[in-house]
């Protein structure tokens, strides 16, 4: 998940310094600073990707040769493939669940006035400040009490709970900037509440919903603490990696990492395309 964030942050910072430099001295100073920041952010990732092609198991420089062996090995690792599948399943379901609950919650917060609204808002947002370990343990206790067997589905519920705050915060912030007269105009023109939501409100908060969804997905994808407490026998990818790492770093892990980097890159491109607001839209 941090991949998504850091990459976009880096993109922003490169853009903002491309303004006209005043003097060569300052320009040089800036270049060094930028270079240092980028190196700090990306050297570890570059190393990871590079060593995933290394013929040798050792992590020493220079590399002995290039190979795709580790990727072939990955393809044959059933446990790993299952873990990846589980991670996708959990991340997708918890994202959908949290959106389905979070978007209406944000709407209620913004559009309705009811007593205790302030308290409701704080309570919805609080879990974001709770350590995952607390969410994990408390939900574990709850699930035990009501007699749920632990499975990927309990993980999904746990993730959705923790992620709700992310969705509500982002969508609520967008709704606050959306003039209420749009919805009033829609109602005035004869639209029902649902028509207004799908034809007017949703298109105008689209990028916030997509952004919150992508962020939820990545957060869920690499979540460990909540997953650790709530999963049954199934492993998600981060849990699998973590468990194999106890037996030492392998180039196979590098290969998994490299694939995740590639996947994140796809997500970033996707988010840039999807979140590009149409001209005129807010």
């Amino acid at each position: 998940m941090t991949l998504l964030e850091t990459t976009s942050a880096a993109v922003i910072s490169t853009q903002s310094v491309s303004r006209k430099p005043r003097r060569w001295g300052t320009r040089l100073g800036w270049s060094v600073t930028i270079g240092a920041i980028l190196a700090f952010l990306y050297v570890p990732i570059a190393v990871l990707v590079l060593f995933s092609f290394n013929t040798s198991r050792s992590l020493s420089w220079p590399m002995e040769g290039l190979t795709l062996d580790w990727y072939r090995k990955l393809a044959g690792n059933e446990q790993l493939i299952e873990a990846v599948g589980n991670s996708f399943y959990v991340a997708t379901c918890s994202t959908i669940l949290t959106l389905v609950i979070g978007v209406p919650a944000a709407l209620a917060l913004d559009r309705l006035s009811f007593s205790g609204k302030g308290a409701f808002r704080k309570l919805v947002l609080l879990p974001i400040a709770l350590p995952g370990i607390i969410t994990g343990i408390s939900m574990l206790i709850l699930f035990r009490m009501v007699g749920f067997t632990l499975s990927l589905e309990t993980v999904i519920i746990g993730h959705a709970t923790a992620l709700l705050a992310v969705v509500v915060t982002q969508v609520y912030a967008r709704l606050q900037r959306l003039p209420r007269s749009y919805e009033e105009a829609s109602a005035d023109l004869g639209a029902s509440g649902l028509q207004t939501f799908f034809f007017v409100t949703l298109p105008n908060i689209r990028s916030a919903v997509i952004g919150a969804g992508l962020l939820s997905f990545t957060l869920s994808f690499d979540e460990i603490p909540v997953t650790f407490f709530l999963t049954g026998r199934d492993n998600t990818l981060p849990m699998y990696i973590w468990s194999t790492m106890r037996r030492g770093l392998t180039p196979e892990i590098n290969a998994v990492g490299a694939l995740i980097v590639a996947f994140s890159a796809v997500l970033i491109v996707l988010s840039v395309i999807l979140m590009r607001d149409k001209p005129g839209a807010r």
């Binding site: 829609s186 029902s192 149409k278």
Partner: protein, 357 residues
């Protein structure tokens, strides 16, 4: 004439704030009625109760003979043009205009047809595919109008429709609005704080203050016979002074003026007023009865007329004099001149200073 909107003793409270206070009024089919008053007097709230965006705390709303007090906006045969136009930014102009028909279940092709007809009406047929943000302020205004009339509502509500436009455009749009209203024969209820706009456009103006109706009348009645100094002061300029009537004489400003018999009850101290153009400035030596001696303190030129400010017994009065083109300036006094002013007796207004019922 048939009554299309009736508000019955309608009030709206926002907690302890009283937005609208026991207002009753009716609007006839095809009328152009304007709610006029300063900011915060409850005009928008009143309009929003007709549109269904606010539910009255008390009283009822009847549209076209049907009680709609508790119906939501989408169940009322009225449409509103918002102050910020509220055009949907993600839809083209044509989609915006057609929106009301589309959500009503009309076929796509017919919607497009009707939408372009409506755009034609406001002279924007060629901007069907443009996005709202590509339009100028005046064009957006017209799209909002087209979108509101396309559903053929019984009443069109307009909340300060011209206030977002600059002065030149505003005047052009006034003409446009009036033309549109005549053309489609629709009932308009407009809200504004601009008295010129209200007088120029409306068949009837309702002057509001602090949630209540101060006066309800045609523009000329409001101008010639304002019922209170509040209305007199809000609409045009009025010279106000205190006085006492005895028979056909008005004792005011330390002098005596002639007034028609029965202008006001004998003997009580009241507020009187006259419009700047209803008085004349005469040289001091001219023999005239019932005039006020005055000193000129200021002269303001307005093209073909001038406003002359005079002092009468310590009260400042404004008088408009036209300047005859050929004899430029010759008819006007100079600052410091001693003059006398004659007010046409039938142009003196009596103003109830209590709030009108």
């Amino acid at each position: 004439m048939t009554e299309i909107v009736a508000l019955k003793n309608i009030s709206k409270h926002f907690g302890t704030v009283i937005g609208v206070d026991n207002v009753s009024l009716t609007v006839e089919q095809g009328e152009f009625v304007t709610l006029l008053g300063p900011s915060g007097c409850g005009k928008s709230t009143l309009l929003r109760m007709i549109g269904g965006f606010e539910e009255p705390t008390q009283g009822g709303v009847v549209i076209s003979g049907k009680d709609v007090t508790h119906l939501p906006p989408n169940k009322r045969p009225v449409n509103i043009v918002f102050q910020d136009y509220a055009l949907f930014p993600h839809m083209s102009v044509g989609k915006n205009v057609g929106y009301g028909l589309r959500v009503g279940g009309m076929r796509r092709t017919e919607v497009a047809e009707r939408a372009s007809d409506a755009l034609e009406l406001v002279g924007l047929a060629d901007r069907f595919d443009a996005k709202p943000h590509e339009l100028s302020g005046g064009q957006r205004q017209r799209v909002a109008l087209a979108r509101a009339v396309v559903r053929q509502p019984k009443v069109l509500l307009l909340d300060e429709p011209l206030s977002a436009l600059d002065a030149n455009l505003r005047e052009a749009m006034q003409v446009e609005l009036k033309r549109l209203q005549r053309k489609v024969g629709l009932t308009f209820i407009m809200v504004t704080h601009d008295q010129t706009e209200a007088l120029a456009l409306s068949d009837r103006v309702i002057v509001m203050r602090e949630g209540r109706v101060m006066q309800d009348g045609t523009p000329d009645v409001l101008y010639d016979r304002p019922s209170s100094s509040y209305v007199a002061g809000f609409i045009g300029t009025t010279n106000l002074f205190q006085g006492q009537v005895r028979g056909e004489t008005l004792h005011a400003l330390g002098h005596q003026l002639l007034v028609p018999k029965g202008l006001a009850p004998d003997g009580s101290m009241l507020t009187f007023g006259f419009r700047p153009e209803k008085a004349e400035i005469l040289p001091l030596d001219a023999a005239a009865k019932g005039t006020l001696p005055a000193t000129v303190t200021d002269i303001l030129y307005h093209g073909n007329s001038a406003r002359i400010v005079v002092d009468v017994s310590g009260v400042s009065l404004s008088i408009d004099q036209t300047i005859a083109g050929a004899r430029h300036g010759s008819g006007l006094p100079e600052i410091g001149d001693r003059v006398q002013i004659a007010i046409s007796p039938d142009r003196i207004m009596v103003l109830a200073d209590e709030v009108a019922a």
